[in-house]
């Protein structure tokens, strides 16, 4: 027999009382700081406390680098699944899932616009689309971007965020490396500037082709950049990798990058570089972006 009898009142509805905080806050992966998302966005998606650079999607990248409007090209290109690849899930299915999720047909956006007043061709890779991996479509779009840049003599910027060649398109992906690099040889010969921006992560076939072939190769702080992924290396040498290995600062120290630039300063840095490459003493041509005529 109980001494006290609890009056069972119906629980009050909490519906009206709940404060919706979900999705408004995020945690810094590096310093564990809880950050209000609007603060994060206002700070170029870098942690206000430790300046850890969060990954950003391709469209955010375009907004960050272009002055205003831009024109997108070749957005209709989509893979035809050359190997009919199927692992646990068919590659075709994976593709259409990704297309729904990202609203893109593949892992890169090619766009034309202006950067601090200069016309540029910009390719921004989308890491959320199968790890930003490069298959036939990414290869073709980037090659077309290079050819457009060459035909119009407009500087090229490629922002990489990619795990490398796309396994599900096998050797077809591998050949994109050769194709893009050959196109870059032509751009190089024509002396049209190409700035490569490496962001977290840039590895495998992407690093081993266009990402390392810029007239300047600049990276965002703390980005993972390398050829082999850290897990593969650990398995090969059977030991833990040192802290900071394959990060931007490590590469800078080893002479593999021209600069590590904070995201907030990136646009200015690129503009300076383009000015360096394209400035002419002739007043009429100085503001325009055209490179000096080929010899």
């Amino acid at each position: 027999m109980a001494w006290f009898r609890k009056e069972k009142k119906p629980l009050e509805s909490v519906e009206g009382k709940r404060v919706h905080t979900e999705g408004l806050w995020t945690k810094c992966e590096s310093c564990r700081q809880i950050i209000w998302k609007k603060d994060l966005e206002a700070n170029w998606n870098a942690c206000p406390r430790c300046s850890f650079h969060f990954k950003i999607d391709a469209r955010t990248r375009l907004r960050l680098l272009f002055d205003g409007e831009w024109v997108e090209h070749y957005s209709g290109l989509a893979s035809t699944d050359p190997l009919q690849f199927k692992d646990l899930k068919a590659y075709r299915e994976r593709l259409s899932q990704m297309q729904k999720k990202t609203g893109m047909n593949d892992a890169v956006v090619v766009a034309e616009g202006r950067l601090e007043g200069r016309p540029v061709v910009l390719c921004a890779m989308e890491y959320n689309f199968i790890g930003g991996s490069m298959g036939a479509v990414v290869g073709e779009k980037i090659t077309r971007a290079i050819e457009m840049s060459l035909a119009k003599r407009v500087p090229l910027i490629i922002v990489s965020a990619s795990g490398g060649a796309r396994m599900m398109e096998g050797v077809v992906s591998l050949m994109q490396m050769a194709k893009i690099s050959a196109a870059l040889a032509r751009l190089d010969e024509a002396r049209v500037p190409y700035i490569s921006v490496l962001t977290d992560p840039t590895t495998g076939g992407t690093t081993a082709s266009f990402a390392m072939l810029g007239d300047l190769n600049v990276a965002e702080p703390g980005a993972l950049i390398g050829f082999a992924g850290p897990r593969v290396i650990e398995q090969t040498i059977c030991q833990k990798l040192p802290e900071g290995f394959q990060r931007s600062e490590f590469l800078l120290e080893h002479g593999m990058l021209d600069a590590v630039v904070d995201r907030k300063d990136l646009k200015t840095y690129i503009a300076r570089a383009l000015e360096f490459c394209t400035w002419t003493s002739d007043k009429a041509g100085s503001a325009a972006a055209g490179a000096p005529p080929a010899p």
């Binding site: 035809t80 050359p82 396994m167 096998g170 077809v172 390398g226 290995f245």
Partner: protein, 327 residues
């Protein structure tokens, strides 16, 4: 792909041969006894193969996984074996003039049917000591930098270039990363695209991803019948998608890495036949089958004026493997 779990006969033969060799090397009687047991076990397996099996009389073409095994066969001719049979007066050129000499890539001046040429390729080792010396055919940045340096030397004096691809991949290690493995390969891809001399590429064994491609841009890309070319090793692919490297056979099938598949996809220009059973059976015969193809590809490329040659090379890769729809 056959469902037969048994390895093919020639593999059993090769294994037995290897065991015999080991037996001669083994000093302890206990070890010799064990090896003899293994030998007879293999003998039993061979007898288990029914001779009435029609597939034994008319051997079916090897499946993808068997091709992988053949491409990695320890007795398969390596780059220097082809050098011995295809070229005369091979004189090695060492070093990248910056860091060191990578022994996983060998470059040298040679004569091909009387004409001075450059021959270079990835070199695997056969004995344990040799394997370590060659780092299993896995080059580091200095290897790729040596290769392009020597190719530019050849181009300066208008000498054609033959490259031979046979590597599990570029070396994935701390030192290689620190010295810019990716940059070294990327640089080679761009520079090989515009070297003003004919470049004939042959995949002789394992075409392991970017590590192979790093010396693999050219006017003709040939592949031996049992060689493979892939963006990733079947084991790594299996480890990623099935989380089990034991599913490598499935992965080999899915990756479409055999010579026939590559020809169909337009990634290689021609398949070079091998002697019956595979190149490992007869190095001299394998080289003899390759020589006329190399000669034809070279004379085709050598006829073209330099600008046409470079244009053709560009278009070759530009138009390769167009697998997309839409605009």
């Amino acid at each position: 792909m056959s469902d037969d779990p048994q390895p093919p006969r020639q593999e059993l033969d090769a294994l037995q041969k290897r065991i015999r060799e080991l037996e001669q090397l083994a000093s302890e009687p206990e070890a010799q006894e064990k090896l003899r047991k293994m030998y007879s076990l293999l003998e039993d397996m061979k007898e288990g193969e029914s001779p009435d099996d029609p597939s034994a009389a008319e051997p079916a073409p090897p499946g993808a996984w068997q091709r992988v095994l053949l491409a990695r066969h320890p007795q398969r001719p390596y780059f220097l074996d082809y050098v011995q049979h295809l070229f005369e007066g091979f004189s090695e050129v060492h070093g990248d003039r910056g860091f060191g000499d990578d022994t996983a890539i060998v470059c040298g001046m040679a004569r091909f049917q009387g004409q001075p040429v450059l021959a270079l390729g990835q070199q695997k080792g056969r004995s344990t000591k040799d394997k370590l010396h060659r780092n299993f055919g896995m080059a580091k940045p200095e290897g790729y930098r040596k290769a392009i340096r020597v190719m530019q030397y050849a181009a300066k004096f208008a000498r054609p270039i033959f490259t031979f691809l046979d590597t599990p991949g570029a070396y994935p290690g701390i030192d290689a990363e620190a010295r810019g493995q990716a940059e070294a390969i990327a640089y080679n891809l761009r520079e090989m695209a515009r070297l003003p001399v004919p470049i004939i590429v042959t995949v002789i064994g394992e075409g392991g991803s970017g590590g192979a491609l790093g010396i693999g841009v050219g006017d003709s890309v040939l592949i031996l019948e049992n060689a493979i070319y892939s963006v990733i090793s079947p084991e790594s692919c299996a480890a990623i998608v099935w989380r089990n490297s034991g599913k490598a056979e499935l992965a080999a099938e899915a990756l479409k890495l055999t010579a026939e598949d590559l020809l169909k996809m337009g990634v290689v220009d021609e398949i070079v036949p091998e002697p019956p059973g595979g190149a490992q059976a007869d190095h001299r015969a394998a080289a003899a089958l390759l020589a006329p193809v190399l000669e034809r590809c070279l004379s085709e490329a050598a006829q073209l004026p330099v600008n046409d040659l470079l244009d053709r090379r560009y278009q070759k890769f530009r138009k390769m493997a167009q697998f997309w729809t839409g605009e």
